[in-house]
């Protein structure tokens, strides 16, 4: 049992941050939400816009408007980023699919935020990418897929300050219309992204909730003072 007794509600326009040590269950939560086949929900329920998630396959969750920015994005050799983005937009935004021209314009704008040029589109998805390039591609996909719920699993880890800033710009650019769940164990992303809610996760459950000030406390004092035994 990795996650237990967790309760969370996220509204459009809110940025929720979940902090916690390695092994606290943060990534598990992200994967469970997206429907990773290795996890099983034994108790409890998760709703997305009123729909019980257990009724939706992974691809249906994506089409319903959920997005996961992966901690470890997978390489798909031979599939070009541009083709992949286009096919994914066509799959996810079926009801209101942009024309090729709109798609190109959107792509251009998103790539500008992330500081990548056209040659990026011709490369193979995550194949031979640096850590920073992988995370930029995750955010590029997020911007193109326009999710209603964006889950970002340690998107900030392993980034230099410039890349971190661009990733933050990406998040901020969709924040008003999106519910964001940002998983991190550093405070530094929060210098650039203003969370509405901060949650601290220990041992598979949320032990403390608060506003941006909680993140600063955690940065100063660590997690020990929040251990259920010490609280």
């Amino acid at each position: 049992m990795v996650i237990k007794g967790l309760s969370l509600e996220i509204q459009k326009g809110e940025i929720h941050v979940i902090m916690g040590r390695n092994g606290a269950g943060k990534s598990t939560l992200a994967n469970v939400l997206m429907g990773h086949p290795s996890y099983e929900i034994t108790q409890g329920s998760i709703y997305f816009q009123g729909i019980p998630l257990e009724e939706l396959e992974v691809f249906e969750r994506a089409r319903a408007g959920m997005f996961l920015s992966f901690q470890y994005p997978q390489a798909i050799p031979g599939v070009q980023v541009g083709t992949f983005l286009r096919k994914s937009v066509q799959a996810v935004r079926q009801d209101n699919c942009p024309t090729n021209r709109q798609l190109r314009d959107e792509m251009k704008a998103a790539m500008k935020i992330l500081g990548v040029d056209n040659s990026f589109l011709a490369r193979y998805v995550n194949d031979g990418f640096s850590g920073g390039e992988k995370k930029r591609l995750e955010i590029l996909q997020m911007l193109m897929l326009k999710p209603k719920l964006a889950i970002l699993d340690e998107t900030d880890s392993g980034l230099d300050i410039d890349a971190l800033k661009m990733v933050a710009d990406g998040i901020n650019s969709i924040a008003d219309d999106t519910a964001c769940l940002v998983i991190t164990h550093y405070q530094r992303l929060l210098d650039h992204v203003k969370p509405s809610h901060v949650h601290v996760m220990i041992d598979g459950t949320i032990v403390k909730e608060g506003g941006p000030e909680l993140a600063i406390q955690v940065e100063d004092k660590g997690y020990d003072w929040l251990e259920p035994a010490n609280a």
Binding site: G35, H36, P37, F59, F70, P73, G78, V79, R86, A91
Partner: protein, 498 residues
Amino acid sequence: MQFKSRIRAMIGLSQQMHRRGINMSQEARDMSQEARDAVGDYRYGFHDPENATIRFDFGLSEQVVRDISEIKNEPHWMTEMRVKAYKHYISRPMPDWGNSEMLNSIDFENICYYLKSSKGSETDWDEVPEDIKNTFDRLGIPNAEQKWLGGVTAQYESEVVYHSIREDLEEQGVVFLDMDSGLREYEDVVKQYFGSVVPYSDNKFSALNTAVWSGGSFLIIPEGVHVEMPVQAYFRINSKNMGQFERTLIIARPGSSVHYIEGCTAPTYSTDSLHSAVVELIAEEGSHIRYSTVQNWSTNVYNLVTKRGIAYRNSTIEWVDGNIGSRLTMKYPAVILKEEGAHAEIISVAYSGEGQHQDAGSKVHHLAPNTTSRILAKSISKNGGRSSYRGLVKVSPKAHNCKVSVVCDALLLDADSRSDTYPTMEVSNQSCVVEHEASVSKVSGEQLFYLMSRGHTEEQAMGMIINGFFEPFTKELPLEYASELNKLLEMEMVGSIG
């Protein structure tokens, strides 16, 4: 610039695939249930009623060989070569490597070695018998010819029923004929080169082909001429228990270039057919021949083919070889790098599904200094299918400063499927650089989850991974062919996930 155009091209491709998808389902509805059961997902499995003008009885003898030659009214030397080859064929044992079990299960007495369904080779589709024309229409040949090909030959059973070449190429002296016409009109050239690259005694099946050959292409590119649009040959088997033995000879004169493409399909029958071709390429100084194949025989066809080219000074021979269909394919496109500076490029993909064995690979002989070769072989096996890479690279003592690169990648889609690699390197010169890499991988659950989290179904995700795996191959093909191949592979994926 190149990248941009490729992206645009890919967008067009998807639209085209979508349209074809609609056409196909219409076609599928038209098929009777019985036909559908037999054909399965293979959409080229339809057949015409057989209207043979000449049909030989099953089986092979010296008389059959002489009769074929007589029907074709061939010169004496060709008849004698056929008979010699026949004698060699019957005396030569079946190869004891590859897939001997499958090879030995071929019933050679139950094969028709010559079947003619039309009067002759036409240069106007309207002159081609209607059934046959319809078949090629369904295969999209006349349409492709109009849009993007420099010339076409279409072979149906034993004979070429249609051939044409764009006028501008003809004016530049390009010769593109079926092999039988080539022998009639350019006897001296044929006499000089026929069997000079692949002698009948090379192997059992080159002997068989030389004995009973019929059809194929004869192509000469004059000095300095660059054929910008690809020329295509299409091979169709229609009858049951058919043997197709086309023979192709391509000569690129100094400084010329050409891209030759071949495609092949057959109806799905419960009994076996045999396709055994010989292809000979001659690349003279500074010339460039690219020979692309998308082999998509139905899974009752044994495909035993010998392909080889000789590359002279500073010339390049490229084999781009895709094996999707057939029950058993044994084919190892080869290049002899005969003079300094010659280059060989062999890119192949193999796809093996249930009951299929693709035993494919490549051979390169470095006979001269400063010659280079690059081999890339990729295979996918699924549902118990078996793919083998069998390669031979030889570097002779005189071949100084050669470069050889061999990369083999195999992808296994389930635990029942099999991949083998048999790379042989015989290097007799210390100064040469040889690289060899081989990998076997599986599609990971994490890759599928990643793609599905972007809105793709499991089948779409699998199709994407597979198309990506074959991308180094498909990007070498003209767009129309690449799209066809991607479509094929996507179809193969339908229903493949449990």
